[in-house]
Symmetry: C2
Subunit: 232 residues, 2 copies
């Protein structure tokens, strides 16, 4: 019995493309790894040596300028794929925001395996295309939206992506109330703003009755319609 048999993302990750035999072979070249919040799995500009599937937790993908400005260019959740297969360098760092569990492969091993399993490559292609769509939508936010619109859009997307698939009851609740896996500074780095502007927008949205903030990391969406209007 391989680790994959009990894997919670077995049917949602790209592994879903494989049958039992193939899965066993893939399992043989991968290994599990836990990450603490703040711990990095890869670094910007480094050789692309690893790829991985996210089993549990939330991680950020980020780049920065020479002089220390940072931009978060992606956020990944359970069942998402990370790393740069078929490429020599990783364009962004990957860092855990929460405790995280990932299933890691050496890129060379994974590349070779993928090339022999078109169904796996197909899943990976679908995922990459979807990620590209999402990333392009985010460009509209970065380039054209105001601070208020940015934060509202962000909170709506968060509430949707944090729902655990499968659990019907839970998802209703998460859509309304959830724990942000981001600090204020990290929210700022996602939205291309400063921490102060983010903070002010949080308090404004709360003052306007669209959200509530029971604690620093928790958000309750009181008026989804209103928030969507605010998101532009």
């Amino acid at each position: 019995m391989s680790a994959c048999d009990t894997c919670v993302v077995r049917n949602r990750a790209i592994c879903a493309a494989l049958d039992t035999e193939e899965l066993k072979a893939l399992n043989a070249i991968g290994r599990r790894r836990m990450l603490e919040p703040g711990e990095s799995l890869m670094w910007e500009g480094e050789d692309s040596v690893l790829v991985a599937n996210v089993i549990d937790g939330v991680l950020k993908l980020s780049t920065g300028t020479e002089d220390g400005r940072e931009q978060i260019v992606g956020v990944v959740y359970p069942s998402d794929f990370i790393g740069r297969p078929f490429g020599s360098t990783s364009g962004h760092g990957v860092t855990a925001l929460t405790e995280a569990k990932v299933c890691v492969f050496s890129r060379r091993d994974f590349d070779a395996f993928a090339r022999e399993h078109p169904a796996l490559e197909h899943k990976l292609l679908q995922r990459t295309l979807a990620e590209l769509d999402r990333t392009r939508r985010w460009m509209l936010l970065l380039g054209r939206k105001s601070a208020g619109e940015k934060l509202a859009s962000f909170l709506l997307e968060m509430s949707e992506r944090l729902v655990q698939p499968g659990c019907e009851v839970q998802s209703e609740k998460t859509l309304r109330r959830f724990a942000l896996p981001f600090s204020r500074q990290q929210v700022a780095d996602v939205l291309g703003l400063t921490i102060e502007t983010v903070s002010r927008q949080f308090t404004r949205l709360k003052a306007d009755g669209l959200i509530d903030l029971p604690s620093r990391r928790e958000v309750v969406i009181l008026d989804r319609e209103g928030l969507m209007a605010e998101a532009g």
Copy 2:
């Protein structure tokens, strides 16, 4: 003899993955199409009915908000692939910036063909991964760079992507001097700025001796080093 035999991007587009027989089959389901500047091949939010390869010309991918703000989320050049295979809707419009020639396929036909040709899907995957990398790098520009840095970065990227591959002599020249396929407004839509700010930055870079502007659409890079420093 099929149209592909004389195709100038034959060896650079994803078609390079196919042998003569396969190429013939692909050719059978595609057709050539010319586009005038300003003409659109697909529209944001529309059903994804077409995919295509760019044979010649430059096209923009763009999205917008309800109230008319626009953001260019990608620019494609000869040999690039456009459209959303394996998906139901296209998240952005595709519009020619110059006269353009494309090789169009019905998405359904293309999807079916691709699924039967793993080598083609592999090429498409590589291209999509590279495009995702580029798009994420662009997010840093949109979220964290100043107007001056944005324009400098843009001009450098332009000069590199406009070179015709193959032609050694020409590429040296293009790296220095090229015709912008964008109006000032379109540059603004790429960079997330207003047309006035873009214009002011152009004149500033010129005043600083980093570039020259022989005409509205032409750019000469006088000091590449300096421009790179300016790009942040």
